[in-house]
Symmetry: C2
């Protein structure tokens, strides 16, 4: 029953917040008859400020958005939610807060059983996947587990960056970091989709469509033991559900 819209980034090349994806956001919620969205702000510290920013943008999209942190009863807010948006920020902070508030299961049930549409961006996209092992964020807090909502059985690395041939910086490239993940002995680590900024996934039940607004800059797929492969806009990645 999953209906997901998973963005790599909220802002594209210094543009306005979510502007590059405004059409797909509007149609995603419209086609599911949703006009009221529960916003999950926990990837940032200042929830009030975060809500104000996102509320304005969503009202421009003709959508009403309210942050869950205002609710007197978090669980019922989730159980009555018609749509979710989980914003970017620090993925560890987001996941730890949701574990501490014991909300992950309720969100999972609403999306996977009741078919409530879920939109995520950056950290909110990491949260939708099997775990947050391929986040780029700093571990500023320590969640009890790295397991996430698991709407998808693979990993996403948002804001994916290709190695810069001119760089003399010695920090590991994303490819190296992902190969470290895939190098853990005796473990079947899931595929990792390197989602470049400007790209997103549209998921409906068992259909995964890769979309993006920057041609030949879409996504790079890493499957353990295989050579990484580029995937273009409009690729069908549904096979990732059965790996």
């Amino acid at each position: 029953m999953r209906k997901l819209l998973l963005l790599s980034t909220s802002v594209l090349q210094n543009g306005k917040y979510l502007e590059y994806a405004s059409d797909v956001i509007k149609s995603f919620f419209a086609e599911n008859g949703v006009s009221k969205i529960v916003f999950i702000p926990y990837a940032a510290h200042d929830h009030d400020a975060y809500e104000r920013k996102v509320k304005d943008t969503f009202s421009e999209f003709g959508l009403e958005l309210n942050s869950i942190h205002r609710s007197g009863n978090l669980l019922s807010t989730i159980k009555e939610a018609e749509g979710f948006f989980v914003g970017g920020g620090n993925t560890f902070l987001l996941l730890k807060t949701l574990y501490d508030l014991n909300l992950l299961e309720a969100i999972r049930d609403r999306v996977m059983q009741d078919g409530v549409p879920y939109m995520g961006s950056s950290a909110g996209t990491n949260l939708a996947t099997v775990n947050i092992c391929t986040t780029n964020d700093m571990p500023i807090v320590h969640p009890t587990s790295l397991d996430a909502l698991g709407f998808l059985p693979f990993n996403i690395n948002p804001h994916y960056l290709d190695p810069d041939p001119n760089s003399k910086h010695m920090g590991e490239t994303r490819e190296t970091r992902i190969s470290e993940y895939h190098g853990i002995p005796n473990v079947r680590s899931p595929p990792v989709l390197g989602l470049r900024e400007g790209s997103w996934l549209q998921v409906k039940d068992d259909k995964i469509l890769l979309k993006g607004c920057i041609p030949n800059q879409c996504a790079r797929l890493f499957i353990r033991g295989q050579i990484p492969k580029e995937h273009e806009v409009n690729s069908d990645l549904s096979f990732l559900l059965n790996m």
Copy 2:
């Protein structure tokens, strides 16, 4: 009793492994009368390969190095160690392996009580500090805690990178990530030293000296609630022990 040599990176600008720091490495171990070093390879998966590489380099320095993973009794190897070198790689993998093998305390005692010299690079430098909250590595595994050896009561961000004004990439800058760490409410998060590649710390008991081989590219210090401050080669950072 701490005697520490903490490098930001093992390789500088595509040079040879540890070459840029060879003189300071030789004198660090020589001044402490150490010629045999226990190598801790756990930040990488392939311990044999890692040992071979490091062994060759250290033998060029006139130092004998043996990896702990060959030992039949890890604890006694630590208790008899004259010197430690912890190499770079994935900081989560390094910390988790040491927690799983229950070796952290023994290493801490050897260094803080017995004064055994400890050299770290990248992940091995993170390990020497209060915790690994300011690593750049991907959480490919989940340690039970982020607390590390705690030889120093503050954090280091190795491979520190300044924001790139020309970049259109929207992933957070290091400054933003460190401010997220310093933004956690109701917590006295420690200072974070952004250690640029080519810089290192020489610590002897309560004296911390910042060194480096690239002038005006040394280190940037972030203290919660204060404006970040540049520190130059030969700065005395001992005040960080009492913050």
